[in-house]
Structure formats: C-alpha cells, structure tokens
C-alpha cells in the first residue's frame, strides 16, 4: 500500500469513527470517497489544536475506545504560549513513531534492544511533565509515571530553581540510574551550569543517552549540554508534539529528519504546498492511528524542507527547524525572521549561557543575554552586529542581564514575538 492509500484509509476511519471529523467533512460537503488524489486531499480544510481541544475526548476519540482502554496513555500539555491541550495516544503508536524517528541515529540503537526497557528520567518544564508534583514537595514514587519514567523536580521559572531542588535532581538521577534523559535542552544546560558550580556530574551505571525536546534546542544550549555530558553520550534533538509523539529526530550527522513513515506530512504556506528550500507549516496526517486519527492537522510548527540526501543513510526527509508561527519576528519590510534563523545568527557562542529575543507588539526587539565569565567585549559587539543586520530595519535593544524569566508554563523560549502572537491569534 502506498502512503496515499494509507491516508485514504485514515480519512475513512476518522469519518466513520469520530463525530468531529465526520462533521468537519460534512460541513465542507466532502465524503471520504471524494478524496482520490492529493489534490482532492488538499480540499479538506486543515484541522487544528482548538478542534481537538474542544472535542476531546468524546468527539475525537474513535468509537470503541475509552480513555481507560488498554494501552491508552493520556496527557495534558501546557502547550506553547498557553495553547494547551488534553489528549491521548496509544502506547504502541508512540513507540512505533519513536522507533522510526530515533532510527536515524545509530547512537540510540542500543536503547531498545530486545529485552531492554530503558529507564527514563525527565527534566523538563513542570507543566509538560504529566504530573503536578514536579514541584519539589513530592517523593520519587510520586513522580514516577505509569511507564516508569521518573520526572525530576524543577521550578516553573527555571532560573529561580533553588539549590536544594537542583541537588535533589542530581541525587535522584544518581539513585535512579537511567539509560535515557529526556530533557528540555535549556533545562539540561541549566543543570550543567549548576553541576560545574557544585562539582556534580550526571552519572548512571547504564550507558546514558540524551533526547532533547519541548522547545527549540539552541546552539548555545547544545554546546553546554555536550560539554557537560561529554563526548560518549549520544545527544539527539527530537521533533515532537505531546499529542503525536515523535515527528522526527536528529541523525548522527546533525540533520533533522521528519518521520514520513508513520505520518503523511505536508509543508504548507498560504494554503499551498511549498517547494524545497521554502518555509512551510507542517501539516500532519496520522497513519493507522486507531485512537485519535488526525487529518491535515496544522501543527503551528514551521520547517524548511531541504530536499537532497543525507550522509547518514536514512531516507526520511531532511528539514530545517524554523520555529512556531507565533514566535517569528515580523520585520517592517514584511520579512519574517524565524527562531531558527535567530539561533543560527547567535551560534554556539561559548561566552553565552542563555539568551532570549523578544519582539514587542510595536515591532521593536530586545535581545537579553546572560554572558558567562569568559565573555569579552568583542564577543557581544560582534553578536550585536549580526543580529542588528538580520533584524533590520526593526530596532533592536541589547541587554546583558543575570536573569531571564520563563513562560508561566515553565517553558523557556529563546525567541518570541508578541506581534506575531497577536497577528496569528
């Protein structure tokens, strides 16, 4: 069966089994039989997070399932910028997508060898962690999820995490002995800085691996994570969403590959598919998702499909992560500067611990950064020039600070735009 046949099956299944999608099609005078070609498929208006939020569970859960059916994992995500979601996923779909995506990186192959069930520690924004007890006032048992994942404690406002809570995270990792750390890279970089200060390292009797997700992995965070974990620990950047699981992964050549085996993917801008090298929003259609089938689900995440082959040997398409629509900097000359482009301009910046570019509603930008002890005037002058260039003609203000707040959700976004958030609302 080719991928599009699988799409047609998914459409038929979603139409037959979910009230929401049936109504979505009927409201647009479409039936599954009308969708024979890719052009037909593009007549289906995209579905969105708000559709699935409002209709969960009764309208989007496939008939025959409940939230307590075997293998159903449910979760509540804080979303980005308050765009939260409740959803559920079948454990084996999650595993299937994870296996496909992570398969692009041989450094992770040993994690899922027959008989091995990886022990996972999660260090991420608390609201993303499926438990409300990731606040320190809880035991390890309280914070162990049904699948065995240990959720480590951290404050919602990352940089305000007190020392005792940092020490507790190190102690619990030691006690738990994980194979895999699933982290927000900004959080792990933070832990690394504390580790140097406290003389602590992350250790485990098992071979450690690091999967980064939740927010854009900046080059600044990546450098710190690599320095802290050392060269023997494989580090991979996950492209994922709570409601879908692994949408892609970083190969050992450092390229991001999108999972087009378990999803039918489209990159769309202004309602039309984009060409290779052009920026487009990722639309995802699940394949063989028995629980919550999604058709043309507009993720709000933008990528540039790069085309070509990657030296890693996988045939999953190569993309460049650009960031969320709501985070893109809008310039006065109508150009967009993506969080990915800002990250590229900042680079690994060994003199920098953390940064955040914020565009206000009027279009002005402020770049706040926390320099470390190695910073020299030439470093930030050069960076100021680079950012001023890419953000021109908009004004940019630069501030060296010793603290930058997280969102209330606990996520730290390196690039946000109040203007884009308002425009795309």
């Amino acid at each position: 069966m080719n991928a599009f046949d699988a799409v047609r099956e998914e459409i038929a299944y979603a139409f037959d089994r979910t009230d929401f999608f049936r109504k979505h099609m009927e409201d647009n005078e479409l039936r599954p039989d009308d969708i024979r070609t890719v052009d037909d498929f593009q007549r289906i208006p995209p579905t969105s997070k708000s559709h699935y939020r409002r209709n969960f569970p009764a309208g989007v859960l496939a008939r025959g399932y409940t939230l307590n059916s075997p293998h159903v994992m449910r979760f509540q995500s804080s979303g980005t910028s308050g765009d939260r979601l409740n959803s559920a996923i079948l454990a084996y779909d999650l595993t299937r997508r994870q296996a496909t995506a992570i398969g692009v990186h041989p450094g992770f192959a040993d994690l899922w060898l027959p008989g091995n069930r990886p022990r996972i520690c999660r260090f991420a924004p608390p609201n993303c962690s499926d438990v409300e007890c990731a606040t320190g006032f809880s035991s390890m048992a309280d914070r162990t999820l049904p699948d065995g994942t240990l959720v480590l404690t951290v404050a919602h406002d990352l940089l305000a995490t007190p020392e005792w809570q940092v020490v507790k995270a190190f102690d619990e990792i030691d006690a738990y002995g994980p194979d895999l750390l699933v982290v927000d890279p900004t959080h792990l970089a933070f832990l690394g800085r504390w580790g140097r200060r406290l003389g602590r390292k992350i250790t485990s009797p098992k071979k450690l691996h690091v999967v980064c997700g939740y927010t854009l992995m900046t080059r600044v965070a990546r450098r710190q994570v690599e320095d802290f974990m050392g060269p023997d620990v494989p580090i991979g950047d996950m492209i994922g969403m709570s409601e879908l699981g692994y949408l892609g992964f970083e190969c050992h050549h450092g390229q991001r590959h999108i999972n087009d085996k378990d999803f039918y993917v489209e990159f769309v801008r202004d309602g039309r598919p984009v060409q290779e090298g052009e920026l487009g929003e990722l639309y995802v259609t699940t394949l063989d998702d028995g629980l919550v089938p999604r058709i043309r689900y507009a993720t709000g995440d933008y990528f540039t499909p790069l085309g070509g082959e990657c030296g890693c040997g996988t045939d999953l398409p190569v993309v460049r992560i650009e960031g969320r629509a709501t985070h893109m900097v809008r310039l006065m000359d109508d150009r967009l500067v993506t969080p990915g482009a800002v990250d590229a301009a900042v680079g690994a910046a060994p003199w920098l611990d953390l940064y955040k570019l914020e565009q206000d509603r009027a279009g002005a930008c402020t770049f706040r950064y926390i320099p470390n002890s190695s910073a020299r005037a030439a470093d930030w002058t050069a960076l100021e020039h680079r950012l001023t260039d890419i953000l021109a003609p908009n004004p940019v203000r630069f501030e060296a600070v010793d603290y930058i707040a997280c969102e209330r959700s606990g996520k730290f976004q390196s690039c946000v735009s109040r203007l884009s958030a308002e425009v795309t609302r």
Binding site: S50, H51, R53, R54, N55, F56, P57, A58, G59, L61, T66, L67, N68, S69, P70, R74, Q76, R84, L85, N86, E132
Partner: protein, 406 residues
C-alpha cells in the same frame, strides 16, 4: 423542574466570551465571581475622570476621590448593619483574619476553638497565635454540637467560626453558636463570612459577633478588597498589622499617634478604585434582593445537590439535602478518576469552569473525601440549564474515563 424567571446574565460581559467557539459556563463562584457592568463602569469611571489619591490632599480631585471612597465604606457598612467606622478596608478575608489574630494580643498558647471545615485562612492565623482545637463534623460536614460545647467548656479566648463551608456549602447555625459561646465564656468571636455573605444578608449587630471578615470579589466586587467588621471597642483595642503612611495622626522624632478606627488599619494608599467598585457591587446585589434572587439560589442549589445524588460515579461531599446550604457542591469522583483532569476537560471540551483540589481546606477535604475533589459553585448569573449541562458533560466524561471495559 420549575424554575424562576430570575435573569441577570446579560449584565456580565465576561459571560459573552467564547473559547474555541464555545460559550462558557462559569461555575467557580466560590473562588471568585464575575463582575457586572455596573462594577466595571464604576472602576473605569474613577480612573477616567479622577485617579487622584484620597484623604490628605486638599485639591478638588483628591476630595472627590475621598468622598467616593468613604461613601463606599458607608455603603458596605450599611449592608451588614455596622457603623462606617467599624469597617476596615483590607486586601482580602485572609488579611482581615490575620489582622485580628495578630492584633488581639493573645498570650502564647492561648486556647482557641475553631472548626474542621474552616478555610486555611481561618485556621493558620490561629495556629500561629494560639493553641487551636477544631470542632469535629459529622459525615456530612455539619458541626458536632456536643463537641463544640465540650470545647467551649475549656473557656477559649477566641472562637473562630465559619459561617458557610467553601467545601460542603453547609451554612452553620451561627446565631445559635454565638449564643452558646456567650453563655459559656467571654471569648472573642471571629466570623469568616466570605462564602455566606454573597448569598445571604448578615446583620452584625443582631448576630452579636466581635469581628467578621468577608471578601468583595466573591460577591461581584473587584479583587483586592477584603473587609473586616469589628465592634467599635474591640476594633479600637486591636493592634494594627501594618504601620506607615495614612494610619497616623502625628509623627515626630520620638513616636507617633495612630489615627482613629478604621483608618489606623489602612496603612498606605488603598485600592481606591476597587473600593469604589465594591460599593457598586453592593448596590447591584441589593437591587437583586427583591427580584427572586433567593428563590433562584435555592433552585441552583437543588439542581446541584439532586444532580449529584442522582448519578453513580460521584459522591457528594456534604449533606444529601437542600437545607441550610448555598448553591455549591463538592464531588468525590469514584474509581480513582482525577478531579484535576476532569476539571481541565470540563473547561477545555465543554466550556464549564469548575474547580478541583483541596479548596484551601485540606484537613476537611482529607477527612471527608480522602483526596482531591471537584467543586461546582453557582451564583446569580447561572442558570439551572448550565448545571444540567455540567452534569451531562460529567456523565459523558466519566463514561470515557471510568474503569476499562473487559
């Protein structure tokens, strides 16, 4: 069910809001209420036409603002049958109760009687300043009167009463309790009326309490305003919690002279606009009094209680009847269903705003429910149909979240 024709929903702009294209049912009124247009306009008008600080200024705007502020105090005092100088404007009920507990000058280890269904704000201040003993409750949350009387026999210095529980919705027979206290000892009686006053009037003179605290935000007023009533002499003897500008008549190099009550408790610039908005809220509520509001409240209460009793999968935390309670129910969900998850799904999928957790009354919730509860609380702008909608949504959710089939 026959319902009254009481209707004021259009006065509340927030109720016009849609989320994800869906209208909202706001059923978290025990936490805070929405604001009618009259209150919003009163606040806005102060900022649009005045905005000056009150009291010591001699200029025209300051005088106007002072007049409006003090007129609001008179309005609030009148609403509870107090003199204006017996009403202190504070931030919230919590601050009011802390002011009393800290200002009475209690000796260390002073014996204090409270009740298990007290809000944390009527528990923790007393624990800090004395030795608190809690009156037991029966399985439905009504006070164990025998135990209360037994505790009074120990001649407490303070009896901290709660008019209405924010968990069970039970309205306690405060007049009877006050009479028992007066007969048994000379304790200072401090009443938390935060949940009761939004639903029923209280006359502090008739009730014969020494202090009473309540919050305007739970009765259509702005957030940031809590009121403390104190009987004149008792209030005068209370030690202020905060000192500084606005609460003194004279300051020199060696000392200061406090202002008279209630000003000596209002240090610093107060929330002027919110106090003015509070008077508008009182005016709005009083105008509703003759229009079937109480009948409407009873209908909402009946719909909430009957709905809970009629369905499997939930246990009512509180009395299984309509007597002496406000339009509030707390539900313990069976089969380990998470109240927090249900509250979130009710909100995001059905537009129903309800509250989950321990309701700042953790000892009571632990005792009666063993863990988190789901609380649904209705108010003047709610309709019975919304409560029916809530239960329909809950049924659908519990059908999908209950024990796994097979």
């Amino acid at each position: 069910m026959t319902t009254s024709t009481f209707y004021c929903r259009d006065d509340f702009p927030a109720l016009r809001r849609e989320i994800d294209g869906q209208a909202i049912s706001y059923l978290d009124n025990a936490a805070t209420t929405l604001k009618p247009r009259a209150v919003i306009q009163a606040i806005t008008e102060y900022y649009e036409t005045n905005g000056a600080n009150i009291h010591r200024g001699k200029h025209r705007l300051s005088e106007e603002a002072s007049d409006a502020y003090e007129a609001a105090r008179v309005r609030l005092a009148d609403h509870i049958g107090a003199a204006a100088n017996e009403v202190v404007m504070l931030r919230n009920t919590t601050e009011a109760l802390n002011l009393v507990a800290s200002g009475l000058g209690l000796e260390q280890d002073a014996y204090i009687v409270g009740a298990l269904d007290a809000h944390h704000s009527q528990l923790l201040p007393w624990r800090r300043f004395g030795r608190l003993e809690l009156t037991r409750l029966d399985a439905h949350g009504r006070l164990d009167r025998e135990h209360f009387r037994a505790l009074l026999a120990g001649r407490p210095k303070v009896v901290a009463l709660t008019c209405c529980s924010n968990v069970t919705g039970v309205v306690h027979p405060v007049a009877e309790l006050v009479a028992e206290v007066r007969a048994a000892c000379d304790a200072t009686i401090v009443l938390d009326a935060a949940q009761y006053l939004p639903h029923r009037r209280v006359n502090v003179r008739e009730l014969d309490v020494d202090f009473m605290a309540f919050s305007m935000h739970k009765m259509l007023g702005p957030t940031g305003i809590g009121c403390l009533y104190g009987r004149g002499q008792r209030l005068a003897a209370l030690r202020p919690l905060s000192v500084g500008g606005g609460m003194v008549d004279w300051v020199d190099a060696d000392g200061s002279v406090d202002r008279r009550i209630p000003y000596k408790f209002e240090a610093g610039t107060p929330a002027i606009a919110s106090v003015i908005g509070s008077a508008a809220a009182i005016g709005y509520l009083e105008a509703l009094d003759g229009s079937g509001r109480h009948r409407h409240d009873e209908e909402l209460c009946a719909a909430l209680v009957d709905g809970a009793l009629a369905r499997p999968g939930v246990r009512l935390v509180g009395p299984p009847d309509h007597d002496d309670r406000i339009a509030l129910v707390s539900l313990k969900l069976d089969n380990g269903v998470s109240a927090g998850e249900v509250a979130r799904l009710l909100s995001d999928s059905y537009g129903v705003m309800a509250r989950s957790g321990h309701m700042c009354a953790q000892p009571l919730v632990t005792e009666l429910a063993g863990g988190e509860i789901l609380r649904v609380s209705a108010y003047v702008y709610n309709e019975v149909a919304e409560i029916e909608g809530f239960y329909k949504a809950l049924d659908e959710l519990l059908g999908l979240m209950g024990p796994a089939a097979g």
